[in-house]
């Protein structure tokens, strides 16, 4: 009990300390650890958007995905990224709660859409990285979707490093990434008069240095 209280006070103090530290000059790569990082899933967002009837963007969030990053802070172009997405875990924010469940199930499993029964994972594995600015670059890799693998290039911005005390010595680094591809390149042509061929992908999230 006593220990528990002490731990709690320490944790609270550490939180306050973290919150009151002056904002560091970010983004910076200085002092950032190289090596394996894993997605910090509580701060990671992956959204796809298609145009509906050509007049509005329809946005859906993937809610179950993971990523491993081998980050080289000195030579970011040597970094490697792999992403694994569960196509059945979707959030459409559909307003009716009953229809929401049905609609997400249909989007995830219908052969016209993500067809997860046959293709239970969407994966991306980087094949090359190019640095285009101090904190920007492109990551090209193989996107496997609906069983079809095609090269896709992500535009990536490095957001900087944080060191929240609850992660101890481990670095947390943030990125934003986006890309656009044509779903027809992966064999999905359903409702092409209503739903755009172009699919925009947006990611923003954090990676936590893996424990040794």
């Amino acid at each position: 009990m006593q220990r528990n209280l002490t731990m709690r006070i320490l944790a609270v103090s550490a939180s306050l300390l973290a919150l009151t530290l002056p904002a560091q000059a970010n983004p910076t790569l200085e002092g950032v650890a190289s090596g394996l990082y894993e997605l910090e899933k509580t701060h990671a967002f992956l959204t796809w958007t298609v145009q509906h009837n050509g007049i509005s963007g329809y946005s859906v969030n993937f809610t179950d995905f993971d990523a491993d990053l081998v980050f080289d802070a000195e030579t970011p172009a040597n970094s490697q990224l792999s992403v694994n997405i569960n196509p059945t875990a979707l959030n459409t924010n559909y307003p009716d709660p009953v229809k929401k469940v049905e609609w997400e199930e249909e989007l995830g499993t219908d052969p016209r859409f993500l067809n997860a029964g046959e293709f239970p994972a969407i994966t991306f594995t980087s094949t090359s990285v190019e640095q285009t600015g101090d904190f920007t670059g492109t990551v090209t890799g193989d996107l496997t979707f609906l069983g079809v693998t095609q090269p896709v290039t992500l535009d990536v911005s490095y957001g900087g490093v944080a060191n929240p005390p609850w992660f101890g010595q481990r670095d947390v680094i943030g990125f934003t990434a986006s890309t656009t591809f044509n779903r027809s390149d992966f064999g999905q042509t359903s409702m092409s008069g209503v739903i755009s061929d172009a699919v925009e992908i947006e990611f923003s999230g954090e990676f936590l240095q893996a424990e040794e």
Partner: protein, 238 residues
């Protein structure tokens, strides 16, 4: 094939899909994109030419509103969607700058897409989920005390054929401040199940400082600047 008939055909297919009917997929060839030319003197832009003036309401099944705020000093964007909001639009295609709009947002309905069980790692929290924490906690949206966020336009300007700004009063946490939205008009659709009512689509975004509304928690670790993005459709009232 006109834009309207193309969208009607497309819209039928979407209806079948959205209702989950045991439908055969309707085959739709890509229709040629209708010509979209700059507005000639005295003529409306083609995307505005056949659009009804008057009252529209939000078509809630095609409407998204997301806020983005920097996390950990801005190393990533944290994203929160509002899932219960409504809007009324009085639209004049011939003089879009004389249009008006009002939004009502339920701050108790937010979606953070938090993975896993929040209570496991937050045993001390008085809230059962992170969504509830963001909605109800006094340092965040404080929805018990302030159960509505509203935006009521006070003026609009046209900045291009299909773009403009909408300025209005945003009321958040009981504080009212002027905010200006950047707006793009995307066009009209006529799905047959709404016939003959028009459906028009817009994108909008703005940036506000949450400290202007008295929400100061964790600045700057969590950014003061909040970006709001909207994309959605409005259905002509019957």
């Amino acid at each position: 094939m006109t834009l309207k008939s193309y969208l009607i055909v497309g819209g039928s297919a979407f209806a079948l899909a959205a209702c989950g009917s045991p439908s055969e997929e309707t085959s739709i060839d890509d229709a040629p994109t209708p010509p979209v030319e700059a507005e000639a003197d005295g003529e409306l832009h083609p995307l505005l030419a056949e659009v009804a003036a008057g009252a529209y309401s939000l078509e809630k099944t095609h409407a998204f509103m997301t806020v983005k705020v920097g996390h950990s000093g801005g190393i990533s964007d944290y994203r929160i969607s509002f899932t219960d909001f409504d809007a009324s639009l009085d639209f004049d295609p011939a003089a879009p700058e004389s249009s008006s709009i009002s939004f009502s947002i339920n701050p108790a309905a937010v979606e953070t897409n938090y993975p896993g069980d929040y209570s496991v790692g937050h045993a001390d929290s008085q809230w059962s989920s992170w969504n509830e924490d963001v909605s109800r906690d006094a340092k965040w949206l404080n929805s018990d005390a302030f159960p509505e966020i509203t935006f009521v336009s006070t003026g609009a300007t046209k900045t291009g054929d299909l773009s403009g700004t909408v300025t209005g009063d945003l009321t958040l946490l009981g504080v009212t401040k002027p905010v200006t939205l950047n707006v793009t008009y995307n066009g009209v659709a006529n799905p047959p199940w709404f016939a003959p009512r028009d459906v028009i689509g817009f994108d909008a975004d703005t940036t506000v400082l949450r400290s202007d509304f008295g929400m100061n928690a964790f600045i700057p670790n969590i950014g003061d600047e909040v970006t709001v993005e909207f994309s959605g459709e409005f259905l002509q009232d019957e």
